[in-house]
Symmetry: C2
Subunit: 253 residues, 2 copies
DNA sequence: CAGTGGTCTAGACCACGTT
DNA sequence: ACGTGGTCTAGACCACTGT
């Protein structure tokens, strides 16, 4: 029963290096992540079984399992007993659960409709440059849309995308409701995480007109930075929401 | 190498019962949770080592580890290599990280001061009865306080507690800033989780006066239901926050 | 040094889903 | 019947901590 030595491959350092060692399962996770990022495995695909991966990577099944479990915890994979391990898909139900935190005060959450007001290309603002990691030569795409629940407009939002990550965006004839599925299918960009900041603001005259509420009415402002699997920011989102009959929910554990 | 049969103890059912089996590690977790809930293990205490627990419970070390890992993931325990496993304490730094999601727009988050405006006992409202699971004979304690960051009042909040879970609350001379530590030390109640709902509202005349802002100014309303280790609701919190220079942050993963 | 949790392996059986 | 992931065990070595 030979015991494999820890050899962080690709990161050769001096022999006496006392720090910076990664557990084997973390190295396995990184290898599997690379296969996801590079598009070798696409959403919906069935992965090789644990035993096969273990032989491929020359580690034990238990170590592969620990890596797969960690990726499953991050909603990147889906495991089903008796069937296998699949690459997670950006379906509405999962997006709804993972990235959409608004629910009606009475009743269960559902995915809102959306109507695009405008799409345009522009030079990024300073904030956009900073949050998306762009420089002066870069360009962004801005999309403004209104989203409704049960026919009632509930929020107006602006999406900002870096043009270089979304080539030919302007060739699109329609922009679907579920943009994360679009990012995945059209450009192979998987949204893996996001940070949101919430504030209460007064409705601007413009937003009020679009939403059909009074100017100055309190709106919930949700600012999102969404990141891809390599943790690079790929979308800014700035939603202004009428929270009269709707709330944003958070679980603290 | 005998293989232990799964015998969900304490839940005897018909022999042919095909459903409702719990994995061993989940049963171990429940046993350990009972020792926490019943106060055998108190915050800060060093738990027996994995090997000792494994012998006590007649399972392998790996199974104990899976239970301990799961409790550590829920912030109930703290594990330190070389030292041991400790019961988590409600210190400010942990509360700040786990239960306090407000940060200044510029700078790092910190725990706000608080000044109590009033404490009173009363009959619960219908909402309170429903959310705390009380009936007509029960009574609640209400605390209203203002919290400040860097001298600036940022929010006013109302706490509602069921009197029967907090006997002699009115004997308290002072109510400390960190009430979760108070709940733990005085009544042995550990807050394990909470749900929050956020909305944007207009400041009432009364809140505006107390906070020193304009009536009608948009405020972030945060409604919290906090639960103990047995998942029973033990605190309602209704915070109205000036979010001009402050935001509520959420990570979506 | 001894003791702790952290990692890794190997092999077994179980529950589930497909064939 | 077969292959999958899920659970459980046992034993080994490593890294960290305090003596």
């Amino acid at each position: 029963m030979e015991n494999k030595k820890r050899l962080p491959e690709g990161t050769e350092t001096a022999a006496g290096d006392a720090i910076g060692f990664k557990p084997l399962y973390a190295q396995v996770r990184e290898r599997l992540m690379r296969r996801l990022v590079e598009g070798e495995w696409v959403p919906g695909m069935l992965l090789p079984s644990e035993m096969v991966l273990a032989r491929q990577l020359n580690v034990s099944q238990g170590t592969v399992r620990k890596a797969l479990d960690s990726m499953t915890a991050d909603n990147l994979l889906l495991r089903r007993q008796g069937r296998g391990t699949y690459v997670a898909e950006p379906e509405e139900s999962r997006i709804l659960f993972q990235f959409f935190r608004l629910s009606p005060d009475e009743g269960s959450p559902s995915f809102p409709d959306s109507r695009v007001l405008s799409t345009s290309a522009a030079a990024p603002t300073n904030t956009e440059k900073q949050q998306l990691g762009l420089d002066d030569t870069d360009e962004v795409i801005r999309i403004e849309r209104i989203r409704s629940l049960a026919g009632e407009p509930i929020l107006i939002e602006t999406l900002t995308l870096p043009s270089n990550r979304f080539p030919d965006f302007d060739h699109l004839t329609i922009i679907p409701n579920n943009v994360y599925r679009l990012y995945s299918e059209r450009w192979g960009i998987t949204i893996g995480s996001a940070e949101e900041r919430l504030k209460a603001i007064a409705a601007s005259a413009r937003d009020a007109a679009k939403l059909g509420c009074d100017p100055g009415e309190p709106l919930l402002l949700i600012s999102r930075v969404a990141r891809d699997l390599e943790n690079r920011p790929v979308e800014l989102r700035w939603s202004r929401c009428i929270s009269r009959n709707i709330h944003y929910s958070v679980n603290l554990r």
